[in-house]
């Protein structure tokens, strides 16, 4: 099972957190900090797997951490031994491709200002820690169906949102 999915930027700020096991808010932040510490030490030449010492008080023994670094963002998946390392790497790629379809050349700012959309896309891919769909096209089309529903419900607001999106927020 996937235990958690996190997106953290190069400065350790969380851009998406999704925990499929319950942790208190405090513990969640601790995990983010600890993971960032581990991940930020890695070089580009390093492999995509993280070693957890036996004495970690946050992660239990049966935890594998798999991450990928894209531009300013770390995509980090914490999984247990029932997941295959290499397929999780592919899954991260799927996630990024889906985000790319949604935002067109996705960048950190997209994630910051449209965190809910990122969640919705993720929900189409992983559900409760189990993988639901691995095809970016299907993920995106399912996501679009729901968006249309939302737009149909409130044409005015969605029009506004569209305008907001075109005037991309400056940093």
């Amino acid at each position: 099972m996937i235990k958690s999915i996190l997106i953290i930027n190069n400065h350790g700020k969380p851009r998406l957190i999704k925990f499929y096991e319950h942790y208190s808010e405090e513990k969640q932040q601790q995990i983010i900090r600890e993971l960032f510490l581990l991940v930020s030490k890695r070089t580009e030449r390093s492999c995509n797997f993280l070693e957890i010492g036996n004495n970690s008080n946050i992660f239990d023994k049966d935890t594998k951490i798999i991450y990928r670094h894209y531009a300013t963002l770390f995509f980090i998946f914490c999984v247990d031994s029932s997941e295959s390392e290499l397929s999780i790497i592919d899954l991260i790629q799927t996630f990024v491709e889906s985000l790319d379809k949604c935002f067109e050349n996705v960048c950190e700012l997209d994630l910051i200002f449209h965190i809910d959309k990122v969640h919705y896309i993720l929900d189409e891919m992983v559900m409760g820690g189990l993988v639901l769909e691995t095809n970016p096209t299907i993920i995106f089309s399912n996501y679009e169906i729901q968006n249309k529903l939302e737009k149909a419900e409130n044409p005015l607001l969605s029009g506004l949102a569209g305008v907001m999106q075109t005037i991309k927020p400056n940093k």
Partner: protein
């Protein structure tokens, strides 16, 4: 007032980088206000809260508002609400119960997107309560045709199982079905869930192996699913060796040809866990792993090493061929890869190359830091100590390595190095002289004392001090050693190390004295290397002047320790002080007590087995669960107890002495240490009383016990005689503390009756001390299974479903109230025996309707609306009523056919257990299961499980059971085939999966049983099984307008029949209840006077059934309308079999 949107909030946070928390707190206050506003405001507020939660703020206070937003009709708001819930709700969120109904409503919604939201959210926040409440609805959802909903429903099942493990058994057949689904993505989701389940209890899922195998061999492109299946097989194969053989071919195929590296890799992993004895396959795996490790991709390199490590545990030799590869990886830039390569080293090491490898590692150590550094230290020690130092040829070299390791700053491995030093020195006698010299250097080294922390590198000093003291026979310059021991900086060390320093300084001094006097030193007597040591000493004669100097040093420096803040240090320092004063005094009197001093420390030390304590066998006849003393009569033994209290308290005190006296490395396990000390520590003769004293006391105690009426006679005295209590340290050490004999007379060691251990001497002493009678086996290492006590993994799926395997179904409160009302009404009616005049009953269905709604009816309607599907009888209830609905079995000879029909829970599984044959030859019981009544495709499938028992005392051959019904009635889809030989008194099961083609003419299933007894002519038996028609009725709640519509449409219900039940004084509520329970026929409308009601139901083949039931003087008349009179007749028959016994 203008509210912030989410974007405003995010912008604000970005603009307040300096005081983010303050800004957010301000926003939270605004949000609290907004949550009081209208739904639009609330939605935005909840959206903002979700964002704030990500930053680490607790938003549980807003849980109720989140539920409100979740329940909003607008999809956009609902979506936001569900997201917030997913992110913040947990098992402790109490308002979750309020959301139960909303979640159910949403995932059953016709709007797929709403269903997605609800299912997704449920998978994140599923609590035990939610799981119990919703399990049933999720199962119903599994019959949907909508792929995307189905996928989600399957996935969410896993969370339901996790929180509500009881649901696994009833729900599993449905999940199993999904493995055969034509849609690959549905199969994939089912495999995902089963894979998770199988990790917990693989045995349960072995029966799935054929299906999984088929999927494995038939799927080519869905790598995600294939990987999961291969992983699943890895969990299954250890439990079924034949499976491994079967998998060899397909897996070899994949390994050789698959374009997907991830699949290839998982196949290799599965081969390693399940098929490691297959040498060609293992060779293939290793060669593939080699290509992975040589690959440029760091990930593949890493995983390759990981898998290689797994192979190494099984085939170390095969892996050691690839030493070059692994050693190369030690040079990799990536620490993860280096660490994995380190793991592989133990398999690569030999006598020849250990030196090179260790030097390489030491090299790495110079630049390493943090975790990597610790790992290298650990690894060096692991390599060297492997197989009790089997690869080490030069122990001086190893001591040097350990000394080198001890120079590393800030390592956590001080204790590890210390215990290695002790172990080597104790086991390898030849290295003692050398080590002692090295240890003195270590003691003088200021580096180790620079920053002492408990557990840090200074722990090495503990070992060093002890070695120097224990083997002070090899110390040539005692002054040096003593100066090191008593330097003022020692005060900064942890107290346990200081304690060791104290006692060992005394050892050094004692030895010096003895040597100066030319006394024989017992400990060196039998050592081969003694001469050598002696020789060295000769060059460096210890004179009385040196001893005197030593005395001065100790006396002058001991003061800081006699004032130490640590009790144990102070105690020892004082003891030494006193002893030395005594020494000086006696010396002045002309007596030299150096002999006595040295005799304090003469006993040899042997290594003690790591599990020695655990392996002490329980003495015969000792039952620790048994009361030794009768608990009721404890007071009278007071006298005895007083004695005991004294004994234990003093002895524990002494034990402490004893332990430190021995000075062995004091690990974490104090208990172990104490026992060890009693067996193999220094002779503690000085603390013990004369054996005659003990003997006398023992006799006296035995006599006392014999006279004491409250002592358990036989057993205790027997125990005493067979197992001397003197063996137990507690008793051995009984004695008055005051007597500290230092005189020569008490010098002889205790005759140790108990410790019969033989003390052996080896060059490398690999033997360890074990208690007598300890088992040799190593089976005490229990496999650490993290799921051992997990409820879900304890569920057994191999047993057939029983009546108790019913899912919880929520019942509306009013339902229960209504039921009570009915019971009350029944009682009242029975008691009063009134026969009120019935109002003119109407024969027309449509006229039943009454304009005003009576309270009772209101309740019924509410109940109907509140719980969908209708409340089935609980398991408990149905078992209370072993009703004989269809008690007539048409078996040829069955006379006592105890056909118990368990009122079928109408939702998931309908089940009936019947004895269909019980004659001289056979007894056959049959369990009839109706699985998945709501799935359109196999809605009329019946599963029969017949248990056939051979009652004769001869074997039967050619036993077979075959279906006789014509194909237009029902067909057998799958059966377990011919039974074949059934031995005498044996029983077997025959299963049959039937599809009922026409539900109207298949009330009786006909089977032929054939068998050939070995000595008599063959037997043919006709079996017939009544199928309860309720199997084919679908409980349907119908609104009254729809009902009227059906009645009006001609042809829908054209045939009409009537029947009556008389003489039972029945009431309408009871009839309503029983019809729903036993026949799944639901009430549409009941007249408020409680005398007329209309009912509706539908068969699985969509025949409408309408009924009008009238009650008059406790007699009930039924008017049945349906499309065919055949159906009416069946229903008449079923109604006649209804049971109304209320208790």
């Amino acid at each position: 007032m203008f509210e912030r949107t989410l974007v405003d909030l995010i912008r604000g946070i970005r603009n307040h980088k300096k005081n983010e928390t303050k800004f957010i707190n301000q926003c939270i206050n605004e949000i609290k206000e907004e949550l009081k506003g209208d739904m639009q405001k609330k939605t935005v507020a909840v959206q903002k809260l979700t964002y704030i939660q990500m930053l680490g703020f607790d938003i549980s206070w807003a849980s109720f508002k989140i539920v409100e937003v979740m329940s909003c009709n607008k999809f956009s708001s609902k979506r936001i609400g569900y997201l917030a819930a997913s992110q913040s709700f947990n098992e402790g969120t109490d308002v979750i119960v309020l959301a139960t109904h909303q979640i159910r409503k949403d995932f059953l919604s016709s709007n797929q997107s709403e269903a997605y939201l609800a299912l997704n959210c449920l998978s994140n926040i599923c609590t035990t309560d939610l799981a119990r409440e919703l399990a049933n609805d999720i199962l119903t959802l599994l019959s949907t045709q909508k792929t995307h909903i189905l996928k989600r429903a399957i996935t969410v099942l896993y969370k339901i199982f996790l929180r509500y493990p009881e649901s696994l058994r009833p729900a599993f057949p449905k999940l199993r079905e999904k493995l055969d689904d034509p849609e690959p993505s549905v199969v994939s989701c089912s495999v995902n869930v089963i894979c998770e389940l199988a990790r917990r209890n693989p045995k349960n899922y072995l029966p799935l192996a054929p299906v999984l195998f088929r999927i494995l061999t038939n799927t080519t492109n869905n790598y995600w699913m294939l990987i999961k299946i291969v992983k699943l097989f890895a969990a299954l194969t250890p439990h079924e060796p034949r499976l491994g053989k079967k998998l060899i071919d397909p897996l070899t195929n994949i390994i050789n040809s698959s374009p997907s590296v991830s699949l290839l890799y998982e196949c290799i992993q599965t081969c390693i866990t399940g098929m490691s004895d297959h040498i060609p396959l293992m060779k293939l795996c290793i060669s593939k792993l080699r290509t992975l490790i040589e690959h440029n991709d760091q990930n593949l390199k890493y995983l390759g090493l990981l898998a290689l490590n797994n192979i190494m545990k099984i085939h170390p030799k095969a892996v050691s061929e690839h030493r070059d590869l692994v050693l190369n990886c030690l040079e990799d830039d990536d620490i993860s890869i280096r660490l994995r390569a380190l793991d592989l080293l133990p398999g690569m090491t030999s006598k020849k190359n250990i030196g090179d490898i260790v030097f390489k590692l030491l090299d790495h150590l110079d630049n390493a830091e943090g975790q990597y550094k610790e790992q290298i230290i650990e690894k060096i020690i692991e390599l060297c100590s492997m197989g009790t130092y089997q690869f080490i040829t030069d122990f001086e070299w190893y001591i040097n390595i350990l000394v080198k390791l001890s120079q590393i700053q800030d390592s956590i491995h001080g204790k590890l190095i210390a215990s290695q030093l002790l172990d080597v020195v104790i086991r390898v006698k030849i290295v003692r002289a050398y080590s002692t010299r090295q240890m003195i250097e270590l003691l003088k080294n200021p580096k180790l004392m620079s920053n002492p922390t408990e557990g840090g590198m200074c722990e090495v000093l503990y070992a060093a001090a002890w070695i120097v003291g224990e083997f002070s026979g090899y110390v040539n310059r005692p002054i040096d050693a003593l100066e090191a021991f008593l330097q003022p900086r020692v005060c900064v060390l942890p107290s346990h190390i200081q304690s060791v320093y104290m006692l060992n300084s005394l050892k050094v001094f004692s030895h010096a004295c003895a040597k100066a006097n030319g006394d024989k030193i017992p400990s060196l007597d039998d050592d081969d290397e003694e001469e050598e040591a002696q020789e060295e000493e000769d060059q460096n004669e210890i004179t009385h002047e040196i001893v005197q100097e030593c005395l001065e040093i100790i006396k002058s420096r001991l003061t800081i320790f006699t004032h130490s803040i640590y009790l144990n240090v102070q105690e020892r320092a004082c003891l030494i002080n006193e002893l030395l004063s005594f020494y000086t005094v006696t010396k002045e009197q002309g007596n030299n007590i150096s002999k006595e001093l040295i005799s304090l420390f003469t006993e040899q030390l042997n290594p003690v087995g790591p599990k020695a304590q655990k392996k002490v066998p329980i003495p015969e006849g000792l039952d620790l669960d048994e009361w030794i003393n009768d608990p009721k009569h404890q007071e009278p033994i007071e006298e005895d107890e007083d004695d005991d209290i004294f004994n234990t308290s003093t002895s524990s005190h002494q034990k402490k002495h004893h332990k430190h006296h021995r000075g062995g490395y004091d690990g974490d396990d104090d208990e172990d240490d104490e026992t060890n000390s009693s067996h193999s520590g220094h002779s503690s003769s000085n603390f013990n009383r004369h054996p005659i004293d003990i003997q006398r006391q023992k006799e006296e105690r035995l006599r006392k016990q014999a006279n004491n009426p409250y002592m358990l006679g036989g057993k205790v005295s027997k125990k005493l005689s067979t197992n001397d209590p003197e063996n137990i340290p507690v008793v051995q050490l009984t004695g008055d503390l005051g007597h500290l004999h230092v005189g020569a007379s008490s010098n002889r060691p205790m005759p140790s009756k108990g410790s019969k251990k033989t003390k052996k001497h080896y060059t490398i002493d690999t033997t360890t001390e074990m208690p007598e009678g300890a088992k040799e086996s190593d089976d005490e290492d229990e496999k650490d299974n993290k799921y051992k006590n997990d409820a879900l993994s304890n569920i057994n799926l191999s047993e057939p479903l029983t009546a108790s395997d019913v899912l919880h179904t929520s019942r509306h409160r009013t339902d229960i109230i209504k039921e009570k009302e009915r019971e009350m009404a029944m009682l009242a009616k029975k008691n009063a025996k009134l026969s009120p005049k019935s109002p003119p009953s109407t024969a027309n269905y449509s006229e039943v309707t009454s304009p005003e709604i009576a309270p009772a009816k209101k309740a019924t309607k509410k109940a109907a609306a509140g719980s969908n599907p209708p409340p089935p009888p609980t398991a408990k209830k149905s078992s209370k009523k072993p009703a004989a609905t269809s008690s007539t079995t048409t078996t040829t000879k069955s006379t006592q056919a105890a056909a118990a029909v368990v009122a079928p829970p109408p939702v998931i599984v309908k089940k009936v257990l019947k004895t269909i044959l019980d004659d001289d030859n056979f007894k056959i019981t049959c369990e009839i299961l109706k699985v998945s009544p709501s799935n359109e495709t196999d809605n009329n499938q019946i599963k029969l499980t017949m248990k056939v028992q051979n009652k004769t005392d001869e074997d039967m051959s050619d036993v077979s059971i075959s279906l006789k019904n014509p194909a237009e009635q029902c067909v057998s889809i799958k059966n377990s085939g011919e039974i074949g030989v059934l031995e005498a008194d044996a029983s077997t099961t025959h299963t049959e999966l039937l599809n009922v083609v026409n539900v109207l003419n298949s009330q009786e299933l006909q089977f032929t049983l054939l068998a050939s007894p070995s000595s008599s002519p063959s037997i043919t038996n006709q079996l017939s099984i009544d199928l309860p028609f309720s199997f084919f009725i679908v409980a349907t709640k119908l609104p009254k307008d729809k009902f009227a519509e059906i009645l009006q449409k001609s042809g829908q219900v054209s045939a009409m029949d009537s029947t009556k039940i008389t003489g039972q004084s029945l009431t309408m509520p009871l009839v309503i209840e029983k019809l729903a329970q036993q026949l799944s026929i639901e009430v549409v409308q009941a007249h408020p006077n409680g005398q007329t009601a209309s009912f509706y139901a539908k068969t699985t083949q969509n025949h409408h059934i309408a009924m009008l039931v009238k009650e008059k003087d406790g007699n009930i008349s039924f008017d049945i309308k349906s499309p065919q009179s055949l159906l009416n007749q069946i229903l008449v028959k079923e109604i006649a079999q209804l049971t109304f016994s209320s208790k």
